[in-house]
């Protein structure tokens, strides 16, 4: 028995027989040819395997996205729509060249927002035009449409619809759709005529083919895996299967090679020539073709098992399709929700308007404004009026008016200053009574009535006796009294200051006397008298009873 071992590090030293064989040119030639054939087969098998892997991967991704969308649609209660949705998306994918995964994701956004497959279909159609026309990718466009459907129109700004920020904010969804349609209608179809559009369609067609082949491979390998179709035997079978298929491909290549050697096969009528039909190789090819047809048919039957049932058209005109009824119900619900949403938006708009009105009203209660308005109503100078108006304009943020008023105010102040200077420069007006002489008899009479000499009346002011009744004299007397009081006050202050300076540390005793007696004694005596005369006096200044002896 051979020894079991695991070579960890190995090295190729070359075969002895191989070295010997290399010595003979013919043998070497044969060896190289064999090597070439082996390499070709290996290379073909590897390529096939790589393509197969990619195909299975593409199929898996496609299936994953399909399952996700199916789940979403099912959760929305519209599972019956799934085949129609898939059919529609396949049609769009084939026509416009978008990947199935992208279309499904886009559609998912729309159906989640709208809740209706019909509406989602409409919007997806619109998004194809918008995407082609605006240059934004399909997913972004659908995201914006889905958001706009629920009132978030901010995303539509990038499409330059000619709307202001405020207009965009209050834009209704139907209006947004109209705007977008007007701007981008037909852009999707037009793009298909461009080179880029055509390339996209062709690429998607190739990808679709790969996905279909991938699906077929997965089915085939699952079948090869046998009972249970589990992954592990499937993985093991994959290797054998790929080898089997690669051998088959090499076999076909050999067959074609032999076919080329058939006389006349290179000509245009080769396939109908007699030699072709009677040749054993071509006969084998015809049988192989029949076999392949049969295999393909079997595979197709496996892939698409019969749907069964009858088409709705076969059930007569009175038949009501339950799917259609459900669809109508969903559409009605959607419209209802849309109306409710519109009503809510209107409500919000009204509330905003009310809020604005309240803000405006609150301005009228502004105390500063009230003060300005009140001041403006009073009898004020031109400069003050302009100042107030300017302040008001500043509060209202009215720049134009504020500038005007500021200019006016400046001009007024300038004018006032000029007037003041003019008044100051005006010479003093002469006293018109300067040269008047008081008649002697009037002077004597006044002096006699006042009880003073005539010289005193002329030279010095005198205190008018209180019996004087003239208002002017009374005023004069009051002024003189005030001046006298002022003088006395000044004298008192000076005296206090001098006293304070001399006795700064000694306490000041103030004795209040009434009619030569201390006030406390007077009050006590008064209360005692009142008590004796019958009036009730319960307490005196010191808290004693009236009959208590007073010791002051």
């Amino acid at each position: 028995m051979a020894e079991l071992f695991i070579p960890l590090i190995a090295e190729f030293k070359g075969k002895k027989a191989f070295d010997q064989a290399n010595k003979a040119t013919n043998t070497l030639d044969k060896g190289v040819k064999r090597l070439g054939a082996t390499l070709g087969a290996t290379f073909g098998a590897q390529q096939f395997l790589r393509y197969g892997k990619n195909a299975v991967k593409a199929f898996a991704e496609n299936e994953k996205s399909a399952r996700r969308l199916e789940m979403v649609v099912k959760n929305l209660g519209q599972a019956f729509e799934t085949p129609f949705i898939e059919q529609n998306l396949d049609r769009i994918s084939a026509k416009f060249g978008y990947q199935g995964e992208i279309l499904r994701e886009s559609y998912q956004k729309l159906i989640t927002s709208t809740g209706s497959a019909t509406k989602a279909n409409e919007l997806l159609q619109l998004s194809l035009d918008v995407s082609a026309g605006s240059g934004f990718d399909l997913l972004t466009v659908n995201q914006d449409l889905a958001a706009a459907y629920v009132g978030q129109t901010r995303g539509l700004k990038k499409y330059n619809l000619g709307l202001t920020q405020a207009e965009l904010k209050n834009l209704k969804f139907d209006d947004a759709v109209k705007k977008l349609t007007a701007s981008f209608k037909g852009a999707g179809e037009t793009e298909l005529t461009t080179y880029a559009g055509k390339m996209r369609v062709l690429t998607e067609a190739a990808d679709n083919a790969q996905e279909i082949i991938g699906g077929g491979l997965v089915d085939a390998l699952a079948l090869l895996a046998g009972e249970g179709n589990t992954v592990e035997p499937l993985a093991e079978s994959m290797s054998d299967f790929s080898l089997y298929v690669s051998d088959a491909i090499v076999g076909v290549a050999v067959l074609i090679d032999k076919l080329k050697k058939v006389p006349g096969i290179g000509t245009q009528n080769a396939l109908t020539s007699k030699s072709f039909l009677i040749s054993p190789t071509t006969s084998a090819l015809a049988i192989l073709k029949k076999g392949l047809d049969y295999v393909s048919k079997t595979g197709e039957e496996f892939r698409t098992p019969g749907m069964g049932g009858y088409p709705s058209s076969a059930l007569g005109p009175g038949y009501i399709d339950p799917t259609e009824a459900k669809r109508n119900q969903i559409e009605a619900n959607r419209l209802k929700i849309e109306k409710q949403r519109a009503a809510l938006q209107k409500k919000i708009l009204d509330a905003t308007k009310k809020q604005n009105a309240l803000t405006k009203a609150s301005q009228t209660l502004d105390l500063e404004r009230i003060g300005i308005e009140a001041a403006l109503k009073g009898n004020i100078s031109e400069a003050d009026r302009l100042s107030l108006l300017l302040q008001k304009a500043l509060l209202n943020s009215n720049a134009t008016l504020a500038t005007q008023l500021s200019d006016q105010l400046e001009a007024t102040i300038k004018r006032n200053n000029e007037l003041r200077l003019a008044l100051l420069s005006t010479p003093k007006a002469p006293n018109p009574y300067e040269d008047w002489k008081i008649p002697a008899d009037l002077l004597n009479y006044t002096a006699a009535s006042l009880g003073v000499s005539p010289e005193t009346v002329i030279n010095a002011p005198q205190t008018i006796p209180s019996q004087a009744t003239d208002a002017g004299e009374e005023l004069r007397m009051a002024v003189l009294a005030a001046l006298d009081a002022q003088d006395k006050a000044d004298a008192a202050v000076k005296a206090a200051e001098s006293v304070s300076a001399t006795t700064s540390a000694a306490p000041i005793n103030v004795v209040v006397e009434v009619a030569g007696e201390e006030v406390a004694a007077v009050i006590t005596q008064q209360q005692t008298n009142q008590s004796l005369s019958g009036s009730f006096v319960n307490v005196n200044r010191l808290g004693r009873f009236a009959n208590t002896p007073v010791a002051i």
Binding site: L4, P7, I9, A10, E11, K16
Partner: protein, 172 residues
Amino acid sequence: MPTELRGANHLRKALKQYAPDLAKETREEMIGFLKPLVKKARGFMPSNDAMPSGFVGTAEDGRFPKYDAALARRGVGYKLTPTKPNRQGWISTVSIHNKTAGGAIYETAGRKSGITGNFTPRLQGTLAGRAKMSGRAMFKAYEQDQGKARAGVMKALEKAGAKFNARGNFNG
């Protein structure tokens, strides 16, 4: 699967001849990676009690081989010298082996025909690894090692090569 490291044999010959200290150091480093692997593989070899009674004993010439736990464990080891080229022209510079017949039977029984019949279901342990690299002891240990030993040995050889070249005297 083995990894081809071209010139490994020449390197080791050169080391042995011109830098014996480096050769020894490299060898010890490689052993450091191989010993745990061998120890683990020996650990998967069951005791005699755990084997079918008819299979345990001392092998006689011309008879079906028998299993002796001690011998089987001793039969698992490593090899640092190059083997003879096989029919495809490959030599292995560093390898681990399971030499005894009894140990090899325990290692591979059921690998081709499945765990069926009267013998293989009674063997302890499970087959680990894939296809021709599957087994119960050595291959299992190698599978669980996840190529760490192989990488370590390669690194040791590469390091030795670099050091050898760095010494400069041998580059011509």
